[in-house]
Symmetry: C2
Subunit: 225 residues, 2 copies
């Protein structure tokens, strides 16, 4: 005799959106590596295989998650000054990383080939073009700035400040003795310093881009930091 309480099976209870919501939740509570279809199912109150009716594989689910994050990005108002537009677009991406810290590693590792991601890339490249750069320089500057942005998102959400991932860690006294520069710099590596550090690097790149566009005008960075 089956004494177990039968879960009421309701058709159409699940939806892609619900599953995505729950997936973000599980990822942020369990961590990216702690995420699994079974845990996701548990969070949804269903069986793992039920999810496969809505997403044919975890890869498809992940793509949907990335698409939702990237799809939420809007291009900055074209009426604003170029530097401000560029800054806003960059900070917007950085923000979706901060909003989903556990997912950030996946986000920056993901190769953006879906239509939604390509649309965003296309818009950003257009923004570079608006800066007055030709195709080649737009592409290279996009890449260079993108490197900086991706590295920052990675570090800010999964980096040094999140604690050690090493197995053989080093205590504070050894740190002070053997690695004094790391010890001293550590004060500026914490989460409270992310914004200021990011702004410094971003301003450096923005300054250089404006300089490149204006044909290497006089230095403009004096006394800024």
């Amino acid at each position: 005799m089956d004494t177990s309480i039968k879960k009421k099976r309701v058709r159409g209870r699940l939806s892609r959106e619900m599953i995505e919501d729950a997936a973000f939740n599980v990822i942020e509570t369990e961590g990216l590596s702690g995420f699994s279809m079974r845990k996701l199912a548990a969070a949804l109150g269903c069986e793992a295989m039920s999810i496969y009716h809505h997403f044919p594989s975890v890869a498809h689910l992940h793509e949907a998650l990335v698409d939702r994050l990237v799809g939420s990005l809007e291009m900055p108002d074209a009426g604003l000054p170029w530097r401000q537009r560029m800054r806003i677009a960059i900070e917007d991406f950085r923000r979706i990383g901060r909003d989903h810290p556990a997912y950030a590693t996946f986000l920056v590792t993901y190769r953006m080939n879906s239509p939604i991601c390509l649309a965003w890339l296309n818009g950003i490249l257009s923004l570079f073009r608006d800066g007055g750069f030709d195709t080649e320089l737009s592409a290279r500057l996009f890449r260079a700035v993108g490197y900086y942005l991706m590295g920052a998102v990675l570090d800010e959400n999964a980096g040094y400040a999140k604690g050690p991932s090493a197995v053989n860690t080093v205590g504070d006294e050894q740190l002070a003795r053997d690695f004094p520069n790391v010890m001293a710099a550590g004060r500026f590596f914490g989460a409270a310093e992310f914004d200021k550090t990011f702004e410094l690097g971003l301003d450096m790149l923005l300054d250089e881009m404006e300089r490149l566009r204006d044909g290497a005008g006089a230095g403009q960075l004096s006394g800024k930091v």
Copy 2:
């Protein structure tokens, strides 16, 4: 009756170094996600659990791998001009990524807290100090340049040029129609363009650092690209 051929069990046949070598091999041939203790054991001609005698867990093994890569880095000759020293140190790290492309994702994701990694970080921070920056600016510039470097290593080894990771990919005709900027820029995203793009961004950052140090001198980037 056991008709299987008995593998000769030899004491001391395995060593940490052998295992690390094989691990790099398996990772580069099978990919980072295709790596497993069982495949590593198969490559070594032993059983999975034998590896645990030398490394208590995969985490320990990974730490050893990162340590070996980072530990192979030497600080550039202190007699060279500062800009050249910085460039060499950065390119050296970039090179270990290129030498182990499948491992690059792990490398940039790894939080460097082992003594060997801390020693390297300490040396790099010292290099920034040698540039004439105080503790705070050294720390922030180290981070900013590090962001750029990590993002580059990530893209160059696991990024767009490595093909789609998306499930819903976009064909060339749709790319040309709907995402013309991506299409046009794609020509500069290939592996053959990595060096030139990386140099552009690196020069931008180095220029800005020298400008910061020299108190915003005259522009020097004119006509460089």
